[in-house]
Amino acid sequence: MKELVALSTQDRIRAIRDLPVSFQEKKHIRCVLHHEYDKLYIKSARQSLELWQGTLKEIGGKFGSSVLSYFLFLKWLLMFNVFSFLINFGFITIPLLVHGPSPSNVTFRGLEILTGAGYFAHTVLYYGSYSNQTLLEPVEYDMQLSYFFTIAVFMVLCKITLIYSMSKSFQENYVPADSSSSSAWLLLTGWDFTVINEKAVRQRKDNLRESLSESAQSELLTRSEKLKHFGVHLGCWILSTGLAVGCGAGVYFLCQYEQKTLLVPFVVSLFNLVIPLFYSLFNKFEVYSSQRSQIYTLVGRNVLLRMVILGVLCHYWMDVVAENFQCWESRVGQALYRLVLFDFFFLMLGSLFGEFLSNVIGTKLLLHLGVPEFDVARNVLDLIYSQTLAWIGIYFSPLLPVMQMIKLFILFYIKKVSLIQNCQPPRRSARAAQMQTIFIFLLFFPFFLGALSVVAYTAWSLSPSEQCGPFRGLNKTFSVIESWMEDVDELQGSRWAAWIYQNIILSQIFFFLVTLIVLVIIYVFWQVSQGRKELIGLLKQQIVNEGKDKSFLLDKLQKLQSSRKKNLKRKKKKRVGHAGPAESRGGGRRSVGPGPPTEPRSVRLQRPHSGHAGPTAGAE
């Protein structure tokens, strides 16, 4: 150990000594290094505590970055649910448990785990058993307000996190469309150095070769072929939309059996499992111009299917269940519980069929299919869908994130084992960074916003049930805020808060003005980006011109030098005995290539200059 420490200091001192910079700078660098050391200790301590760090490295090493992105996404969603569980449990459930839960007179039978009803119906799992009183001991705690605000704050925090990640991901990973499948790009940036497994490397080489040879043979399509492709695309879109609508109608018809049987969650999960297989089948008949549009189409159709099914279910809950049942929120919560549970079963089943059976079929029966790949897009969509269910369910069943947490945790290990046993690395280098942006965008835009609007609609327009839950007796859930604001108004010190509420939050003019301002700002930014695009075009042209200038000047220099040499030789022949040094003019045509540094640490890095003729040897 002592030698290692000695080594570090020795090397550090030597390294600093080697830098050709001033003494002051070296002192500054030494300070910086001390900071870096401290940061390093903290970072390595934190990394050893992070969940699944070793497994993720293993997966990334064997299967590359796009499969790794699925598992990172799963971990990210798990964090959401952990956070949600903590705040829900802390702010809503614990006060209720302290106060003393309402007694239940139903005995526990095993079936409840499957249906979520029965014994569970009166526990803290569902909305119905939360009280609407203001607890007085040990501290004054308004249950109504706390329920409302906990859910609201959680949703707002989720929204901010999603918007932030989405914009950061978009900013980092924006790639202009023209460069994505060009030869140069594939050649120079296509190799994934993280892959170190021999079989995986061989596979990657084969795939790269295929992509390169495909792009080398560019075919020109005739007009009739283009029309034919378009027709096939249109047909497939009509078919897939028809399928989605058909599924929605089927679910709507079956909803009447929702309260008595487990048919609805079963059928919903079955549709979610089977219909995407049809979509992949359609995919095989269609011809796409690029791989990117293929993935987008597939993802788009799957999203449409799930949105239709979720829309039908929500409509049923909001319209039919809310009108016809006592304590309808608990019933909706139970329906969601069942959906989440069945989704979990079918995800495991999907792993079985999608990966294990495909592997068996591919290697033993139909050998031309080969080992299956891990379908990242489909699996990520499954994750997004299950997270949407959890988000919708937060209002109706505050402890639903617990189930989601357990589900995601187990799913990680199942998928990992299935991946390692059954799948090969993906054939094309599906650009992981871009897919990541798309996934976060999908998570936010239809799914999270949809869940948010369902919860918001419930809180704003629907009347809560009268006999159970924290909002019993109120006309609308939102009236909680109104009555609270009236209370606040009476307190002398916080009149300003009530004033803000009355005149800003409730007024329509304020929101109108804000929208207008935001639209103006968007327009300004859009114009700026258009201007920048033009500037980029101009600058590219300028680079080309400078290159031409450079070669022109080099030619001229060469001619000048050769003519000077001739002149000099002629002069020498004329003047007899004149011992003039036969100068070879300077470095002549020295290499003007702007190059990267050759010495790692001791030489200043040479920034590339777009140069005119550099050599100083007598250019005129």
């Binding site: 080594l7 570090s8 980092e172 190799w191 190059g595 640490r601």
Partner: protein
Amino acid sequence: MGNKQTIFTDEQLDAYQVSLFVRLSSRLHGRYHELAPHLVPMDYTNEPDCKLPLALIVNMPELKENPFRNRIVESFSEDGQGNLSFNEFVDMFSVLSEMAPRELKAIYAFKIYDFNVDNYLCKEDLEKTLNKLTKEELTPEEVELVCEKAIEEADLDGDNKLSFADFENMISRAPDFLSTFHIRI
């Protein structure tokens, strides 16, 4: 990183490289030692001058399957032959780690692909890169076509070869570069 180019001054890049070096050196000494236990001393206080040959380093499990393993080791060695001292060994893994900034990685990626070490990626360099990547299974016409297309697309100043500026421009449009030009150790 990405489209928003962070501009480091030269001193900052140097200092950053030094700090990267320091972070990894204690961890990597064990690995360096086990490559040749009889050659590499455990005690570095006298600054011994030992270099490991290319053949030993290229057999490390992290490099064994990489098609560019020879070029990687050569571009980090001072003599250009692939004999690495411990400092150069740590340099190599620190540039290839996830902590190195984009500029540094671009510089070394350019060096790795530059087979004839003339500070340009000319057509021969690209052809050699392609052959290493595809195990020489493309026909010569396809190889020629791909390399010509590559130069056509990436060359900005019209001299029929890729300078470092062209290469860096290409890299700036590849957001995956930071994560793919990375070897875990």
